[in-house]
């Protein structure tokens, strides 16, 4: 990003719920101690993984759809200013009003102002990552406006005064019994005989929200897609709470990141095949609503859209990282991630957890913000996320890139070199010449000495101790491959060479 130094607009980073307030290893360590959480997550992520694989396998052209999806998003990023202007023109021509928000605070203030203009003090909400990111509910509450989450999982999280831990199933960390208990405790008028059958719990949510839907005057939503060539917005959902919010109130306020655009109507055929199968593992989600501005006599007559930057332009400025903005929030990457599966979403701090969050959050906030520089390391780089991503975001590559950004950002800032710096220097010296490496390897038997009779090293010194915290290192072999090879392939002299002694080699 150094090329932008001295330019009139440096990357301007996002604010709101995008930060890890403690480092990932610390948070993960705590979350891993929760056995119930691990059981809930393991069950849920495996269920959804299997469903996704089955649904993806049904389509003979899945890879072609991914190729198209990836290229469409790449093209959107390259043409973003032009597409935003085109979208604005079309949306406005159809009776909608566009507002631009530089960051979370500005977006919150715009929404609160729009609600206040209606004279209402309550809004119903469709599940939306953008409003989660800007902390809209909390802001509205400070302004005396109550926001009711209507998606079942969001409702569970809101009733429990908890934070979402997954972008698609925010209450994935709770099991049915925990949810029943939350309903009994927090839902006014909940039937004391409530069981933990998911169908019964869903009916309780229906009864609880029905009156709200039917009387709501203002709704707040996000959007999954926005079509530049027509000014159309789309919301993809399952329960019908989205349709309720998008259809019945008089005023609809949508908050959407600037990267959500698609150029044309035709592009929707690609994404509406990619998204449902990747997210809930369904051929198609139960309901998708599309609206283009105001339709007289049908649906809200006051239509507002808040276009949100909040660090997206900063992510876009990172040439290696900008494809993170291709994300369509399907959550397939977290469902396949071995790290997410064990730590859960709260360990990532940000609204965006899992592999995509580990790149998106630091890209939007800058690597040095709070503890976000710990996020790119929250991965084994196994690549399962890349394989699952419907728009082929190369998450492992971007993770590695952000690790280097992190290291570079610290360079020269410390007076004394750290253990890591010293270690890397030593490694660089040793690995740059075969002779040096050979010399060092002569010291291997020393390691055997340290390993002792059980031939295991259980504690390494200094920062290397992290490695042995949860595993042992086997004792090194008696000699290095290099010296074995040299011995075995010596020019034949007089006597017959001894048979290579494989069986004597130590197992790793």
């Amino acid at each position: 990003m150094s090329t932008f130094l001295g330019m009139p607009s440096l990357p301007v980073y996002g604010t709101g719920n995008l930060f890890a307030s403690e480092s990932f290893p610390t948070a993960a360590h705590r979350e891993l101690g929760n056995a119930q959480l691990r059981a809930n997550l393991g069950h849920a992520t495996h269920t959804i993984r299997d469903k996704r694989l089955k649904m993806v396998a049904e389509l003979p052209d899945w890879e072609q759809l991914r190729d198209a999806g990836s290229a469409i998003k790449e093209s959107v990023m390259a043409r973003l200013p032009e597409l935003l202007e085109q979208f604005e023109e079309n949306f406005t021509a159809r009776g909608g009003v566009i507002h631009w928000a530089r960051d979370a605070d500005e977006a919150n203030a715009i929404v609160a102002g729009l609600v206040r203009d209606t004279g209402e003090t309550e809004v119903v909400k469709v599940k939306s990552m953008a409003t989660q990111e800007i902390g809209l509910n909390e802001y509205l509450e400070e302004q005396g406006i109550t926001a009711f989450e209507t998606d079942l999982a969001e409702l569970i999280v809101q009733l429990d005064h908890d934070k979402p831990s997954h972008i698609l199933v925010p209450a994935i960390h709770k099991n049915r019994t925990e949810i029943r208990d939350i309903f009994l405790r927090e839902m006014p008028g909940a039937d004391p005989q409530l069981t933990d059958d998911p169908a019964v719990l869903a009916m309780a949510a229906r009864a609880h929200l029905r009156r709200k839907f039917l009387s709501a005057k203002v709704a707040v939503s996000g959007a999954n897609f926005a079509l530049a060539d027509s000014g159309t917005l789309a919301v993809v959902e399952s329960e019908g709470n989205g349709r309720m919010c998008l259809t019945l109130p008089e005023t609809l306020i949508t908050v959407m990141g600037v990267e959500k655009l698609l150029p044309t109507w035709q592009d929707l055929e690609v994404f509406m095949q990619l998204l449902p199968r990747s997210s809930t593992g369904e051929r198609m989600n139960p309901y998708t609503s599309l609206w283009t501005g105001v339709t007289e006599g049908d649906g809200p007559q006051n239509m507002h859209l808040v276009l949100l930057d909040n660090g997206r332009s900063a992510a876009l400025a990172d040439e290696m990282g900008r494809s993170a903005l291709h994300c369509i929030r399907c959550s397939a990457c977290m469902n396949v991630c071995p790290v997410y599966e064990r730590t859960g979403g709260h360990a990532y701090g940000s609204t965006y957890p899992g592999p995509i969050g580990a790149i998106l959050s630091p890209l939007m906030t800058g690597i040095q913000a709070e503890e976000n520089n710990s996020l790119p390391y929250a991965s084994s780089l196994c690549g399962a996320c890349y394989d699952a991503c419907p728009v082929k975001i190369n998450i492992p590559d971007i993770l590695v890139h952000l690790r280097s950004v992190d290291v570079d950002s610290k360079r020269g800032k410390k007076k004394l070199p750290s253990q890591m710096d010293a270690g890397m220097k030593a490694a660089s010296w040793a690995l740059s010449s075969g002779k040096r490496l050979g010399l060092i390897e002569k010291g291997l038997p020393l390691g055997r000495l340290v390993a002792g009779p059980d031939q295991k090293i259980t504690k390494l010194p200094g920062i290397a101790a992290g490695w042995t915290q949860s595993r042992d290192i086997p004792a090194p072999p008696q000699e290095s491959f290099r010296s074995w090879w040299a011995k075995e392939h010596r020019k034949p002299d007089t006597s017959s060479a001894p048979e290579p002694s494989h069986e004597k080699k130590d197992q790793p």
Binding site: S9, S75, A101, L214, Q273, T292
Partner: protein
């Protein structure tokens, strides 16, 4: 500087390297090879999989089937533009007293809709492969609210309106109309990712496919 100018300025600066917009490879399927009876069979399979109730009848059989499905309803709403022939099975003499009409010109209130048991609509197009029915607010489908608030949705799909795959279906409709894509009754997977049918939208979806 306005927020608009500033954000567009930031984005232009971010794109200083002038990335190229790639050609979009559209090698995915554009059409489906299935004939009408295969399309009907596939659509039925997918709708049933999502717990919709489906019946396949000849066009002439639609009124009788609708009458049958509405037998237990105390009231039902239809859009004013509904195919008049579909309701003949319900009309005895002066018409059905249970029927309420809705249009953009004379809309029922949300409270009125909440007191109505069922709704009968047509549909714009269906997608066999995904079990999806698309409503576009045409006069025979009506306002979005009428197919949302009543708890039982009876939806008639004409065989000629069934497309094989999504790209074919989307080509047949105008994207700027108020659209609702419906794939089965409302559902949630929010509790342990176990699918439960019937949440806020109509809990019962009856699809009548008219050959």
């Amino acid at each position: 500087m306005s927020a608009r100018e500033e954000i567009l300025g930031r984005i232009r600066t971010a794109l200083k390297d002038n990335p190229e917009a790639p050609q979009i490879p559209r090698q995915y399927r554009q059409t489906s090879p299935l004939d009408e009876s295969a399309l009907i069979e596939l659509l039925v399979d997918r709708l049933v999989d999502y717990k919709a109730q489906v019946s396949v009848v000849d066009a002439a059989g639609v009124p009788a089937r609708i009458a049958e499905l509405l037998a237990g309803a105390h009231s039902y709403v239809v859009p004013t533009g509904i195919d008049a022939g579909w309701l003949t099975g319900l009309d005895q003499g002066s018409g059905d007293s249970r029927r309420r009409l809705d249009s953009t010109a004379a809309p029922l209130s949300v409270a009125e809709l909440d007191g109505i048991d069922a709704v009968v609509t047509g549909s714009a197009v269906a997608v066999a492969e995904t079990g999806t029915i698309i409503l576009d607010g045409s006069p025979n489908q009506g306002r979005r609210a009428i197919s949302l608030v009543p708890d039982h949705h009876i939806c008639v799909v004409k065989a000629a309106d069934i497309a094989g795959i999504l790209p074919e279906a989307l080509r047949r409709i105008d994207g700027t109309r108020p659209l609702t894509m419906i794939s089965g009754p409302s559902a949630t997977s929010d509790i342990e990712l176990e699918r439960v049918e019937g949440v806020h939208g109509p809990r019962k979806l009856d699809v009548i496919i008219a050959r």
